[in-house]
Symmetry: C2
Subunit: 328 residues, 2 copies
Amino acid sequence: MTLTQLRYLIAIADSGLNITLAAARVHATQPGLSKQIKQMEAELGFLLFERRGRSLTSLTPGGQRVLMHARRILEETASIRAYAANERGETSGALVMVTTHTQARYVLPPVIAGLKRAFPYVSVHLQPAADREVLEYLNRGDVDVAILSTAGSVPRDGMAIPLYRWRRVVLVPAMHALARLDRAPSLQELAIHPLVSYESSIQPESSLRQAFARQGLSWQLAMTAQDADLIRTYVRAGLGAGVLAEMAVGLPLDADLRVLPAPPTLCECVTWAVLPRTRVPRDYTVEFLQRLAPQLDRRDLRRVLEGTSEPAWPPPPWWAEISQTITI
Amino acid sequence: MTLTQLRYLIAIADSGLNITLAAARVHATQPGLSKQIKQMEAELGFLLFERRGRSLTSLTPGGQRVLMHARRILEETASIRAYAANERGETSGALVMVTTHTQARYVLPPVIAGLKRAFPYVSVHLQPAADREVLEYLNRGDVDVAILSTAGSVPRDGMAIPLYRWRRVVLVPAMHALARLDRAPSLQELAIHPLVSYESSIQPESSLRQAFARQGLSWQLAMTAQDADLIRTYVRAGLGAGVLAEMAVGLPLDADLRVLPAPPTLCECVTWAVLPRTRVPRDYTVEFLQRLAPQLDRRDLRRVLEGTSEPAWPPPPWWAEISQTITI
DNA sequence: CGCGTTTACGTCGTTCGTAACGATA
DNA sequence: TATCGTTACGAACGACGTAAACGCG
């Protein structure tokens, strides 16, 4: 058993059991992978893959077990390499982040721009994903940091660092009935209008859906979109009142739209950075988090990320300080 | 970076930085290890060891970090191999356990004998250690299971499985003043006599010491020994009243000695099996635990040990069932 | 017939062990 | 001078890539 073999196993599993594709991804030849897998199976004494004819159809139970351990092992080797790169003071590398549209479009641009000024040789990869896909990417292990928001709950797969808190806002055309209000509408007032919001509102665990349900209100979701720009466009087109993140309504505001605070009963959201557990982050990754949430102490951050102190997020002293809200 | 290099690094660290000794332990030659370490240092870009002249004096901070990751990696590879060996139905292998004298002498013999009947080709290594050393062995990673007792606290380094509960007893010569009592002496009654007990009683966290301290009693520890046989010998010699584990006073009892229950205020002890976290146990290891604590459900045991379900020991339903006490 | 896997084979790189050398106590 | 780590060298093993064969849709 070698690290190469384990890397090949992971590559094949992550390439949909296509050895040729996996070979390209690891910069090797297909027969090479084929042979190494065979050799590993011979050494372990059981098959890693189910085969029909010559093609791989699925992982065997044993294969899944080995895959799990292999991921952990490769994660540790990556940590060693990352530590070494930090130690050498290397400033080049890749920062792969997976995040939702709102973050990518409204929050991250200035942060990433600043990061690139500090680390010009870092190539930043921004992988957009729907809310629930984000953590899947993280668990597959090819992502350095996930940026996502929750309303209430703490993400559990990985090391979750609270970055900032934000509220939702209601966006309506200037002619809309709600536009005359000079205050936050109540949930009741909101419920009588058709709404336009994020796709995640469809899901049963959506906080918007639950807020209405808790008060026994019936409401109508006129349409959903992944993307705040689209929501704004359709609000302008008169499809309904938009419910979206405050970060997404930057100033200067379009003259034909009005922004109201969301109902107070609609809970606050928290944006988190989630890092794979046990992975040692590169210096520029810490720099990125630092820029994203300046209130975090850099040494605490590194200490927690390196696993030398137990996380137990969110720790009381920190949590109190996370009051600052980034809005551009 | 290869698995071999990481294995060499661990071997050198665990051999007191003696490369020659480490080479012998991993069945390789000394120049081989020397070269691999050098190569690894070149690849990582920093030194793993501090050197004075040609000899290694200590690990560098970086070396300690790499060593930590290396241990985790090798642990995972060991898990893969163990799983494979189980899958192949292999019945040979090594079971290395570290434990205290009481367990080794009074509890384990019939269990190990039974295990050897079920798995004749397993070689059992019994590593005796003082209470506090036990967990060090475990953390170094060359031990499969530690068997140890605590009074109250739950061992934290590793996966702790409660096996059985036991109480202490008071052992006195037939002529001793306490021998006339037909009941458990109180702590007060015990305090006026010199005592003979385990070496761990010297330490401040000793439950015996704390029990006296809590009641503000002064007491006298006449002598200590690691080993119940010695305690019994010195009790017989008239040095004082023995306070020792009930398992250590087997029947038939020597005619010249009397056994009394310990004071009720002296708390109950729990014997634990502690396994290295994340290590997949061999089938015979599970069999061993099963024989040691028959009340544990075998499937639960394996499920917990394989890490597929979170432990959170002791879980309420189990805990209730751990009432059975093994006394031979 | 295209796609993907397996098998066969030659080359290259790497590792390993033996042996000689050097430093240190 | 004995012990331990480093360097040097030759042999053997193993991994990799190219090319061809095989199954399957």
